[in-house]
């Protein structure tokens, strides 16, 4: 644990998240950056032993006690161990509710540790659900899986994998040019007019809602066959994004709102496949998609547009250039940082949020000696825009989580959304109300 005394700086992704946390979400006070990972096992998780195990893991208690610190306006933000007692709470519940309301209402603040918590929910059928909650600034979903793998193995995470030793290499003129290129690119593709799910005239409630759509193994295989037929040769993500975008477009049309282009940043894990770390921090890059209004009308055109934009951005090294831009911005004071990332007229950062979480790993097919029956990664949902589509595969089945705030979508709209996205994912054909 000696290495934990060294200075650990926030990553580029963390600084971006910090600007969102302090400036963007703070303005409305509606959303919170809490992420969750849920594991349902077929047996009883002994809570006292689990609590002991968790609190004997020094790396875990160290992570729980971290708070971000920016000492001077132009200094690099870094992690500081809070003076507060570093005890990782493990709460116990007995409930049949998928996620008890008390848990959903509880928000984690990065400024008031602990910034990670556990809940064990005992079910009447003898199953237990372990819920790991953490603040998004502390780690991303991939980091959380790495941490859970270590907890499942009963091995304390070792420092080389816990965090990235800071690479504060000097950035040259070429890097500056790349960063400028990324800035011009983002400004160009996020140029107004854009449409989004956010409606300033609606009263948004702080209550977060989660709609979970489960698909069977056969349905998932069917989707895997449909996706390449629609032009998503490289993987399923463009197909999923097209379905999500078309669904949002349909909701806007039903509201009689003129639909413009959509602007969707999609995060991408920057860790190498099979990496054991780092756990701490957000190691994500972004790809930016502008879906043209006309393309949203046709399934194939929408998938093709996403494919082309992905190829173009990878070919031109835009994700790396954006990474350099965020590296340059790390020292920037937060108000200026936020002004830069949202653009001079930007009200919302995206039309809606979209993420494809990492597949639930095979190493976590058992936990605490029990078989894992269900696994779910629930991302944070930032308002605005306040609507997140999160796709995830677990044990060969697709799960789709739709996260939204009460008031942002009406019940009838959510019903329509569910029908349309299920229809389009399973058939690859365009949905119209006559289908139902």
């Amino acid at each position: 644990m000696t290495a934990q005394n060294e200075k650990v700086y926030l990553t580029e992704g963390d600084c971006f998240m910090l600007a969102l946390e302090k400036k963007h979400m703070h303005q409305t006070g509606i959303s919170n950056n809490t992420c969750r990972y849920l594991l349902t096992v077929d047996g009883y998780i002994a809570h006292e032993e689990f609590r002991k195990k968790i609190n004997n893991n020094h790396d875990l208690t160290w992570l729980a006690s971290l708070v971000p610190e920016k000492r001077f306006p132009l200094s690099l933000p870094r992690w500081k161990v809070s003076a507060q007692t570093a005890v990782v709470p493990v709460w116990i519940h007995e409930s049949e509710e998928f996620l008890p309301a008390a848990i959903v209402a509880r928000k984690i603040s990065i400024d008031a540790p602990p910034s990670l918590t556990f809940d064990i929910i005992y079910r009447s059928n003898g199953d237990s659900t372990l819920l790991f909650s953490w603040h998004h600034l502390l780690m991303d979903g991939h980091g959380a899986i790495l941490l859970l793998k270590q907890i499942a193995k009963d091995i304390a995470t070792t420092s080389p994998y816990l965090y990235d030793h800071d690479k504060r290499a000097l950035l040259g003129l070429r890097s500056f040019w790349q960063a400028a290129r990324a800035k011009f690119f983002v400004d160009r593709v996020s140029k107004k007019p854009l449409s989004g799910i956010m409606d300033l005239n609606r009263k948004i409630n702080k209550t977060q809602k989660i709609k979970i759509l489960n698909f069977s193994k056969d349905e998932t295989i069917k989707m895997d066959e449909i996706a390449p037929r629609l032009g998503a040769q490289f993987g399923r993500s463009p197909f999923y994004l097209a379905c999500a975008a078309r669904t949002v477009c349909a909701i806007l049309k039903k509201r009689d709102i003129k639909v413009h282009d959509f602007w969707i940043p999609v995060p991408r894990n920057q860790r190498k496949m099979g990496a054991k770390g780092p756990v701490l921090g957000n190691h994500i890059a972004f790809l930016f998609f502008r879906l043209k209004r006309d393309d949203l009308n046709s399934f194939a055109a929408c998938v093709s547009s996403i494919n082309e934009q992905t190829k173009s951005q990878i070919r031109s090294g835009m994700a790396k250039a954006y990474d350099l831009l965020t590296r340059f911005l790390r020292r920037t004071p937060l108000p200026l940082y936020y002004f830069w990332i949202k653009g001079p007229k930007g009200g919302s950062l995206a039309s809606f949020l979209f993420t494809v979480a990492a597949d639930h790993p095979e190493e976590l097919s058992t936990f605490d000696g029990h078989k894992v029956k269900e696994a779910l990664s629930i991302p944070s949902n930032i308002y605005p825009p306040g609507l997140t589509f999160a796709f995830m595969h677990s044990q060969g089945c697709l799960q789709l989580m739709v996260l939204y705030f009460e008031g942002l979508l009406q019940e009838s709209e959510i019903e329509h959304l569910e029908k349309q996205i299920r229809h389009e994912l399973l058939t690859g054909t365009e949905f119209n109300d006559e289908n139902y």
């Binding site: 390449p228 490289f234 993500s237 463009p238 894990n269 496949m273 099979g274 992905t310 990492a358 597949d359």
Partner: protein
């Protein structure tokens, strides 16, 4: 080419090179050998053009995977499915673009099927089919 001096230099270099092509040189024009004509009529030794073989592509793809996409200590065989390695769709695009850049070959859209994009082996086989003969 409208620079007589440059033309002269290039033609001189062509004349002095080891190439077997017989070129008619003139002061103001560069005569570039017509690829089809050379292949069919003169039947030259093209080994110097360094057309990659299956093994080269396999090796290059594995090296690219190890340096850019997958952690070094993860064991990768040419037959290992990408999905088993956790390689996502964006990484597969990176692999395809790497092939295009490195071997100057364009894989047609209709060849980018799940079967061809399944592993290093299948991607190599697909690439080989589209190399210049």
């Amino acid at each position: 080419m409208n620079s007589p001096h440059l033309t002269k230099c290039i033609n001189k270099a062509l004349k002095n090179s080891d190439t077997k092509f017989k070129l008619t040189l003139s002061r103001n024009h560069i005569y570039i050998p017509y690829y089809y004509f050379i292949l069919t009529t003169l039947n030259p030794d093209l080994s110097y053009m360094n057309i990659p073989e299956k093994a080269d592509i396999n090796q290059a793809l594995l090296a690219f995977l190890k340096t850019t996409i997958v952690e070094k200590d993860v064991e990768i065989l040419a037959q290992t499915p990408f999905r088993q390695l956790g390689v996502d769709s964006l990484s597969i695009i990176e692999l395809v673009l790497f092939i295009e850049r490195r071997f100057q070959v364009v894989i047609p859209e209709d060849e980018l099927t799940p079967e061809n994009l399944n592993s290093v082996e299948s991607l190599t086989a697909c690439t080989v089919r589209h190399l210049p003969k």
